[in-house]
């Protein structure tokens, strides 16, 4: 492990922790602008987290320890996920510990824990949210995995850093398989992050929501951790998209100057991605929960088509 590698690893995690709420705020702000509202301001998520951390945590009388552990586990999973996805540099000491499949597993672990915690209190909304979250999860997870696989077929590796190195080092070519994969990734990401066509982050109408129903019993610092973790998750998904489909500007190993340059490049790309997300959310309407399997089934099929196209175009070796 080189000292530069360790530095870029720490910088990457710190940047994710610090920028994730800002990214969520940016998306909310763009949404407000697109809807002709003035918006709460970019720093609103930080204020919210600060407020929640100050408050007492009110826990249901019969909640088990699992309920109190889960926010920390979810937060830990998302922090690690942001540390694995190469956002600033490809020289990451943590990278060999987890490849793309393990990253998908990491998201699954967080999802299972938050669902179990929602079932722990035993309220109607909690179990309903858990069921829906797992429903979205088991459909979106294979789609995400297939997106990674179609990228892995190009670079002959599931290691995220190798994928990024391969994709960023080659000349600008349009790969049809990646086009399919990009659409699939966007659809899976919308579902996984509880964004508009699947879930509405702004709603509080209990029967239509997934994520909010899931965390209904949380308050105080536990809720703050969960909210921070979901901001980190959105950040991680945005970074996955950037790493797979726009990897230029991510610092390669042994280039300290590039690392410093990578941060503003990342910020610029995230700003564009956030605006695109807000536009997508504004333009589409939320669908009924029974339509979600069709939506995600389409994402899954697109991802499989991406893989088939990748194999077809590569031809038999």
């Amino acid at each position: 492990m080189s000292p530069l590698g360790a530095a870029s690893q720490l910088l990457e995690i710190a940047a994710a922790l610090a920028l994730a709420p800002l990214f969520a705020g940016w998306v909310a702000q763009c949404r407000a602008w697109l809807q002709n509202r003035s918006g709460p301001g970019l720093l609103q998520p930080y204020r919210l987290l600060h407020k929640l951390f100050h408050k007492d945590s009110v826990i249901a009388a019969h909640a088990s320890p699992l309920f109190r552990i889960a926010p920390y586990v979810v937060f830990g999973c998302m922090t690690l996920a942001c540390g694995i996805v190469p956002t600033l540099s490809t020289d990451l000491p943590l990278s060999p510990a987890a490849d793309a499949i393990a990253l998908v597993g990491l998201f699954a672990l967080a999802r299972v824990f938050v669902s179990l915690a929602a079932m722990d209190v035993g309220t109607a909304f909690g179990t309903l949210g858990a069921r829906r979250e797992m429903l979205v999860g088991f459909l979106a997870e294979p789609a995400l995995l297939m997106v990674f696989f179609s990228a892995a077929l190009i670079s002959d590796s599931t290691s995220l850093t190798t994928i990024v190195k391969t994709l960023s080092s080659q000349a600008l070519v349009i790969r049809p398989s990646l086009a399919f994969a990009a659409v699939a990734l966007v659809m899976a990401a919308l579902a996984e992050n509880a964004r508009v066509p699947v879930d509405n982050p702004a709603t509080h109408l209990e029967l239509t929501m997934i994520h909010e129903a899931l965390v209904l019993e949380y308050s105080g610092r536990h809720l703050a951790l969960i909210e921070w973790a979901s901001a980190l998750k959105l950040f991680a998904y945005a970074c996955i998209g950037i790493a797979l489909f726009a990897p230029w500007g991510i610092a390669q190993a042994h280039a300290p100057g590039a690392l410093l340059l990578a941060l503003p490049v990342l910020a610029g790309k995230l700003a564009v991605a956030g605006f695109a997300l807000a536009a997508l959310e504004t333009l589409s309407a939320k669908m009924r929960i029974f339509r979600v399997p069709e939506f995600l089934g389409m994402a899954f099929l697109l991802a499989v088509i991406a893989m088939l196209v990748a194999i077809l175009l590569q031809g038999a070796p």
């Binding site: 019969h62 299972v112 179990t127 019993e217």
Partner: protein, 665 residues
């Protein structure tokens, strides 16, 4: 010392199990002696077998001929890396289950404890001896002993008609399978009359007969393993048995069938054809998908786990099918990877499924309920069972950093090798298969959240659950060992792969890249790597750091209050999702897989009832027609049987006339 120290040791340990069983017969009604002495000793034998297997896996094969059995037909035994690995799995899982059993078995209506102890230990010994048998005769003798012992264990509670029916179905399909295995050995010996495995290895069968042998092995061992469409006995028999026995059947006995299949396919047959791999892959995939879809629809906790076993066996067979494909095209490295995935899943499944089954046993004892709709909130009253079962459920869901994820990871990695296959048809097919595997793995997570959440989390759905007691000390030790297995197999994959390397080499696989300490590296770091220990440390470190930073910078105050639930004050435990409710989305999405009968209430019912019954297409489309045909044939033949002596004399008369006419012509 004899020339075969490891094999002698393993055989002595199997004999020790039989001796313990016989001692149980001597102490027929003395429950305390049986429970607190014989079962823990059986557990110790299991640990011994684990150690012997671990030592023997590195060595070359040892053989031994014992003059027991019929005169002139001695038993051949052999201990090579494959047998040693399966002995390790058997020993490791049996140790935990035996320790658990020491606290589990009570005096009940059915079989007396001594007899149960006898059947239990003969079952274990028979499995060990199947794994070491080196001729068809010894193999079949112990295979049948295993089937019979487990049949009697399944029907331990034989006063219940449903259990007798499950046992009958199990026995029927087990014998159907045994028949196919016997025929398979008959083909393999190629008319030489020598049924030793050494002779079978030496035969060079033509492709046609090799294919016949392979298909017979697939049917025979598939019937025992619960491969679709021969799986119908599994969800009936596993829930019927006492929980430790269900644990052994799901965790270990299914694996002896996989052992037999591997032995025939990679060791006894001279080579592999590519379409064998496609057949095994397709059946494995069908089992995995059907198993997980049905597991999601179950509302009986043991039946749910039994269906989940069908799924896991399906994943194992998918790995084996892939290995056959690679072997047929001479891709030895990729074949080793696929085999390692299958073997890893076998070891992992032995631990986590045993753990979950004994966990349901503890729940069953504490509450008397198997129906998920009457459980809930048990984590608070049964913390030992609850927390160990959480580890088992996470491992079963294939989540990192536990055991189930490693095998899933290896399996998906080996799929990424398939674009190298020289058959373009397969190249196109395999990504679809990989996608389905990913779907199955994700659905397994859904099933496990349902299983764990409905049993252990939420509120008690029945009042009496508040008085449920936690598991006793023996049960805790057994569950701790099994959950330690789940964790260690998850955290030390590189070390485990070193153990698997001799096995894959024996079966004809190439070398796997050596993992470096904490990192699992099947090919090269550039290609893929996975370090669960670093991974777990990373998650744990950020959890702990977050915990202390939040306490330090803010506070750690907690207030207890009634649950919020959007301010609704009249909440009751009945408002939680039931098992049926939790399974509803899966039932809806995979509707064509089930044969569903719904009873929906109308708006005018005074007492509205909702009922849904989920049936298996295989049962109605395959088994019932066959059963009806057999019955109809029997009835037709039965017409001959009139019960009057004059008619029988007429039959004899007609027969004699017919024979005379035939002879004279």
């Amino acid at each position: 010392m004899s020339a075969a120290p490891m094999l002698t040791g393993a055989l002595a340990l199997a004999a020790a199990w039989i001796a313990l069983g016989v001692a149980g017969l001597a102490a027929m009604q003395r429950l305390r002696l049986v429970a607190h002495l014989l079962f823990p000793l059986g557990g110790a034998v299991g640990f011994g077998l684990l150690a012997v297997g671990l030592a023997a896996v590195w060595q070359g094969p040892e053989t031994l001929v014992l003059p027991i059995g019929l005169p002139g037909l001695p038993f051949h035994f052999r201990l090579d890396a494959l047998s040693a690995f399966f002995l390790m799995v058997l020993g490791g899982a049996a140790a935990g289950v035996s320790l658990f059993s020491a606290g589990y078995f009570r005096r009940s209506e059915g079989t007396p404890p001594g007899l149960l102890c006898f059947q239990y230990h003969v079952f274990l010994a028979a499995m060990a001896l199947v794994l070491m048998a080196d001729d068809a005769y010894a193999f079949m003798v112990w295979w049948e002993t295993m089937a019979l012992a487990s049949f009697f264990l399944v029907t331990a509670n034989h006063r219940i008609a449903e259990i007798r029916r499950a046992g009958y179905l199990y026995l029927l399909i087990a014998h159907l399978g045994a028949l196919a295995i016997l025929l398979c050995f008959g083909v393999l010996q190629a008319n030489t009359g020598d049924y030793s495995f050494a002779n079978m290895r030496a035969q060079q069968l033509p492709p046609f007969w090799a294919s016949v042998a392979f298909l017979l092995a697939l049917v025979g061992f598939g019937a025992k393993a619960g491969l679709v469409p021969l799986h119908v006995w599994l969800p009936e028999a596993h829930p019927a048995a006492p929980s430790p026995v269900s644990a052994l059947m799901s965790g270990v006995m299914l694996k002896t069938a996989v052992y037999g299949f591997l032995r025939v396919t990679f060791d006894l047959l001279p080579g592999q054809l590519w379409w064998w791999g496609v057949v095994a892959l397709a059946l494995g995939l069908a089992s995995a998908l059907l198993g997980v879809a049905f597991a999601a629809a179950q509302s009986d906790m043991k039946r749910l786990l039994a269906w989940s076993s069908v799924e896991n066996i399906g994943l194992v067979f998918t790995g084996i099918g892939l290995a056959v494909l690679f072997a047929a095209y001479g891709m030895r490295g990729a074949m080793a990877l696929a085999l390692a995935a299958a073997l890893y899943h076998i070891a992992g499944h032995a631990f986590f499924k045993s753990l979950l089954f004994v966990g349901t046993g503890a729940v069953l004892h504490a509450t008397g309920e198997r129906n998920l709709g009457r459980l809930g909130g048990l984590l608070r009253v049964m913390p030992w069972v609850g927390w160990t079962a959480l580890l088992g459920a996470l491992a079963c869901a294939g989540l990192p950093p536990l055991a189930g994820f490693v095998s899933e990871w290896l399996l998906l990695q080996s799929f990424l090798f398939t674009p190298g296959l020289p058959n373009s048809f397969l190249n196109m097919l395999v990504p679809v298969v990989a996608a389905l595997i990913a779907l199955v793995a994700a659905l397994a997570g859904y099933v496990m959240v349902k299983f764990y959440g409905v049993i252990f989390l939420g509120r008690h759905r029945e009042e009496k659950l508040a008085e449920a007691h936690d598991a006793g000390p023996w049960e805790r030790v057994g569950m701790l060992w099994l959950s330690a297995g789940c964790v260690l197999l998850g955290l030390l994959p590189a070390q485990m792969l070193d153990v698997l390397a001799p096995v894959t080499r024996l079966l004809g696989g190439g070398a796997l890249a050596e993992g470096s300490g904490w990192l699992l590296v099947p090919v090269s770091v550039e290609r893929a790597s996975y370090g669960p220990a670093i991974f777990a440390a990373g998650v744990a470190a950020s959890c702990v750091l977050a915990f202390f930073l939040v306490r330090r910078l803010y506070h750690g105050r907690v207030r207890r209050a009634p649950p919020w639930d959007c301010g609704y004050p009249w909440q009751s435990a009945r408002m939680q999702d039931t098992a049926e409710g939790f399974g509803q989305p899966v039932r809806q999405i995979f509707e064509p897989l089930y044969r569903m009968r719904r009873q929906l209430p109308t708006a005018f019912d005074a007492q509205p009832r909702y009922a849904v019954e989920v049936g298996d297409h295989a049962w109605h489309a395959l088994y019932l027609p066959v059963a009806r045909a057999v019955e109809a044939a029997a009835r037709t033949i039965g017409r001959l049987q009139q019960g009057r002596i004059a008619i029988y004399l007429a039959y004899s008369f007609v027969t004699v006339i017919a024979i005379l006419a035939w002879v004279s012509a």
